[in-house]
């Protein structure tokens, strides 16, 4: 993890010295790589979009999100879609599967025990912000999810923030992507937000511990 001097670059900007080097592989992996969660699925692998996961024993939070034309292929069950004022909304369940947040759609013919994964991302790389939208006529409440990643491939449904800087061949840049999900009312949004934040903190505490261990002693 420790670099030699020749790899560390030094600059002076605004009168201050800057020491710069690329993120090491160790820390890159530690900060952003998904961990395989043994309890995430029957086969010990992280579920992929399209996989059916068991929701029994977990707390699913019903919510909806807008489905754009680009995201349409991710949704397989047209029955769980509603069109209102030209906007297509998809019914979802927000579920926490160990170290991942999953948004699932209902499985046809199932009474709610299973859900089909539409998008999945590690909790440690996620930020959840609740927005009070009581000024609107609707009682629906919004939760903004932001995902941070080093990879250009972003989780399904999320929309990457546009960057003014054109990507280079050896670019290593944080990809920030966002997703709005809506809950029926303030109460259900608060419950989901609290549960999600609690799990995000737990995942981040675990990562923080690993960072401490990874620092040279």
């Amino acid at each position: 993890m420790t670099r030699c001097i020749s790899e560390t670059m030094v600059s002076r900007k605004n009168g201050h010295h800057l020491l710069i080097s690329p993120l090491s592989e160790n820390f890159s992996r530690l900060l952003f790589e998904e961990e395989v969660s043994l309890t995430a699925n029957y086969n010990g692998l992280i579920p992929k979009p399209g996989d059916v996961v068991k929701l029994v024993g977990r707390k699913p939070f019903p919510c909806v999100c807008e489905v754009t034309e680009e995201n349409q292929p991710l949704v397989t069950d047209g029955v769980a879609c509603v069109v209102a004022e030209g906007v297509k909304w998809q019914s979802l369940y927000l579920v926490m599967l160990n170290k991942h947040m999953v948004l699932t759609e209902p499985v046809k013919g199932d009474s709610g025990g299973y859900g089909r994964v539409i998008t999945i991302c590690p909790l440690a790389c996620l930020m959840a912000e609740s927005y009070d939208t009581q000024e609107n006529e609707s009682s629906a409440q919004r939760l903004l999810l932001t995902h941070f990643s080093l990879e250009k491939h972003i989780p399904g449904l999320f929309i990457a923030e546009k960057s003014d800087i054109s990507p280079e061949v050896d670019d290593i840049r944080i990809i920030r992507s966002c997703l709005d999900i809506w809950f029926e009312d303030s109460n259900s949004a608060t419950k989901a937000h609290k549960a999600l934040c609690s799990r995000i903190f737990k995942a981040r505490i675990e990562r923080g511990k690993k960072i401490r261990e990874a620092l040279p002693h």
């Binding site: 670099r3 020491l19 160790n26 290593i172």
Partner: protein, 159 residues
């Protein structure tokens, strides 16, 4: 329920994650992964070896090179060629730890120094070594509280 010790450790772990992850995701921040001090060739030259710092930042080699080119003459490697400079480096370390919380300080047998580029502090850096905690405490008294706080805001203090 967690015990007091567990709570302190959890708090430190979360702060550690905030220091690295949030700083790194903030495009204007740098995270220093590690810093080592190289001892000089002779046994007596404890402080004349250069320091070596690894700084994490998102971006690519071309952009990093451009930043270097902004001031090509700034070939300045952080190091301590005198003991006084090393004291100041330690001061940065301790103040940074105070920023992170007292519990964090007690969790290391050797001091680690955190320097992060931010609005309030030019650098926060993570360093290990230099002094054992007990030695640093003694030097803290010698340097004085005001100097410690001053050092934490001035990157040149680590030179």
């Amino acid at each position: 329920m967690y015990s007091n010790g567990d709570e302190k450790e959890i708090d430190s772990d979360l702060k550690m994650d905030k220091v690295f992850f949030e700083a790194f995701c903030d495009g204007d921040s740098f995270v220093v992964e590690s810093m080592i001090r190289k001892q000089g060739a002779s046994a007596e030259s404890l402080w004349d070896g250069p320091g070596c710092i690894a700084v994490a930042k998102d971006g690519n080699m071309l952009q990093l090179a451009k930043q270097i080119c902004e001031d090509i003459s700034a070939k300045h490697i952080i190091g301590h060629d005198c003991e006084e400079a090393a004291y100041r480096c330690c001061a940065n370390s301790a103040v940074s730890h105070i920023q992170l919380g007292k519990s964090f300080l007690s969790s290391f047998s050797c001091l680690s120094l955190f320097i992060i580029l931010s609005h309030n502090y030019h650098l926060t850096l993570v360093q290990r070594c230099v002094f054992k905690t007990s030695q640093t405490e003694t030097r803290k008294k010698n340097i004085g509280e005001r100097d410690w706080l001053y050092c934490s805001r001035d990157i040149d203090a680590v030179h």
